[in-house]
Amino acid sequence: MSFYEVYQQYQEFDFDAFLKGLSAPELLRIISKERLEPLDFLALLTDQAQPYLELMAAKARQLTLQHFGRVIFLYAPLYLANYCVNQCAYCGFNVRNKITRKKLSFEEVEREAEALARTGLRHILILTGESRRETPVAYLGECVQILKQYFASITIEVYPLQESEYARLIEDGVDGLTVYQEAYDETTYDQVHLKGPKRDYRFRLEAPERAAKAGMRSINIGALLGLADWRKEAFFTGLHADYLQTKFSDVELGVSLPRLRPHVGAFQPQAPVSDRNLVQILLALRLFLPRVGITISTRESARLRDNLIGLGVTKMSAGSSTKVGGYAHQEESEGQFALSDTRSVAEIKRMIIQKGYQPVFKDWLAI
Amino acid sequence: MKLKVNGREIELEKAVTLSEFLKSRGFEPERIVVERNLEIVTTEAWGQIILEDGDQLEILSFVGGG
């Protein structure tokens, strides 16, 4: 049994009929329910729910305060390498893109770590493209060993691994996994992943479960909003999070809401997600899963991110670079996607405090 | 011979079957269950079992309970 079975159950579901058949009293009832069922969550993602955004926001704010308090967890991404064998239509690291390919040496990893750690951040997300030749698990393991001297928590966002590989990295010091399904819709997934191992939909879909079985402490999932119908993608993201939380009750679950951004390559979003849409997804998710962490990265503008703090966001990246390295020395290579919020860690920290929240640089420490 | 029945010592003149013993005390098969030396004795076996000196019997029935 895996999440794929849950996903398949909805293949016969008439989404259009459902989306059309909702009433105002029904929506009000759903918003005030203590516990939402999957279809309630779907209802909150519809056009009909739009007029109730403010009401949803009030509840979302309250739930977030209750379950998370006035805190925002901060982290920064460190791209270790951008070698990639996949041909993904939407990504700057696409194997067909003529960009400078780079991989950090262990000395460089150490220098980047020093630079990043100087900002005060203690939670790091390390990323690579997919290349078992250039950045095999052994390389990742070595990097983790270096990084754990500097950071209290290390999350990986790399190509899907086997359970034993996750177990090995956990032993090296990894405590978190981030893996985005990109598109839950199988057809779209097939269309945007043109070549490479990433074409294996199920292997990617089931990666969080393998990691959980291996003992991963925290797991973050999400869909790349803009690839397929955002309502369905948000719906499946929520279902996936709920499934994982129920099955692996000891894992700390988080959801990210990455929106497609300008990048090297000609791909344009099929289904553009407006700011209003993004807020709706965030609020619906918070009402459906009151205790799940929600991350908004520097893909989004400063203005938007700041306003989302009161509405349900619990984790933010700060002072990010999506180039390989990029913290210690300013090398010229292309980032994976363009940043929108380019504020430094210090600026973000000031903004959070000004809003009456506490920026958290270190949430836990493994001993 | 001496038996212990429901925690109480009972003297019997002569050896009898379990069935005879229970009947003599006024118990009906449908409303009791009997444990002899920590083993449940089915109603069918009551006629075959001959009580021995030192036997410990528990005779139980349903009572009100929540």
Binding site: P25, L28, R29, S32, E34, R35, L53, E54, L55, A57, A58, K59, R61, Q62, L63, T246, S274, D275, R276, V279, R303, L304, N307, G310, L311 | V5, N6, G7, R8, R25, G26, F27, E28, E30, R31, I32, V33, E35, L38, I40, T42, T43, E58, I59, L60, S61, F62, V63, G64, G65, G66
Partner: protein, 258 residues
């Protein structure tokens, strides 16, 4: 749409389970069963009084009822198992409510010993309904051990304090696929209705009826309350607003954007 309660592979017609303890006389049991509509009736197992044998309790429990003996008196798994086997040997079926209590101050159940007993008895083919302190992890263990349902307490036995464990009951109802039968602590029909409104599969009531001024009338009230609560649950409760609205609009920043 039929609303079925299935326990141990059998369809149970009433979501009101009746306890027969603390009654002044067994004589009222048939009437209680009739007015409350109860189908599952609990009993206990005790030594007969050698000098004055009682009237057979089973004479007072209608044939259509499911007799559910409890293992009251058991202080550990072994004793509960022994009592269960004896109870089954009475020939009234294989349902058993496992009750292992070593706490004589509050009569709170020992979940751990109850789980151990469940593991053994479920394998022996009993339809096991463990009486438990509402704990999600333990409920999962009961489920994995083969229990047919779980019976979490609303409040300690005999206290008639209602659903003091409300939040935990809600969690069990949400997370455990087995029927949740709220047992112990229900003091009023409204509390039975409340348990049903939360989504409980059934409730078991004993003290509140036995100690009522008019037990028969109270039994009738409970029967109706359980029915009402279940209907309300199925109908879908209405809107209650429990969150405060912010003084300035939280989504106002979207106005200037598309």
């Amino acid at each position: 749409m039929t609303d079925q309660l299935i326990i141990g592979g059998r369809q149970i017609k009433s979501r009101f389970f009746l306890g027969t303890g603390k009654l002044a006389t067994h004589q009222i049991i048939p009437k209680l069963v009739e007015v409350s509509g109860a189908e599952v009736v609990t009993v206990a197992l005790r030594r007969v009084d050698l000098d004055t044998p009682d009237e057979n309790l089973l004479n007072f429990i209608p044939k259509e009822c499911i007799v559910m003996p409890n293992t009251s008196g058991a202080r550990n798994a072994a004793e509960a198992i022994r009592i269960a086997r004896l109870a089954r040997a009475m020939g009234c079926g294989n349902w058993i409510k496992i009750e292992v209590i070593t706490d004589n101050k509050y009569l709170l159940p020992d979940n751990l010993e109850t789980i151990r007993a469940t593991e053994v008895l479920a394998k022996e083919g009993f339809v096991v309904l463990p009486y438990m302190c509402p704990d999600l992890m333990d409920a999962k263990r009961f489920r994995d051990a083969g229990a047919a349902a779980v019976m979490p307490l609303g409040a300690p036995i005999g206290t008639n304090k209602g659903l003091r464990t409300r939040e935990l009951l809600k969690i069990l109802i949400a997370e455990i696929e087995l029927p949740i039968v709220v047992d112990a602590g229900i003091g009023k029909p409204s509390e039975a209705a409340e348990a049903m409104e939360l989504g409980a599969a059934a409730v078991l009531v004993n003290t509140a009826i036995a100690t009522a001024g008019d037990p028969i009338m109270m039994g009738r009230a409970f029967g109706k309350a359980v029915e009402a609560g279940r209907l309300a649950y199925l109908a879908g409760l209405g809107v209650t607003k429990e969150f405060a609205e912010a003084s300035s609009p939280l989504t106002g920043f979207l106005e200037s954007v598309v």
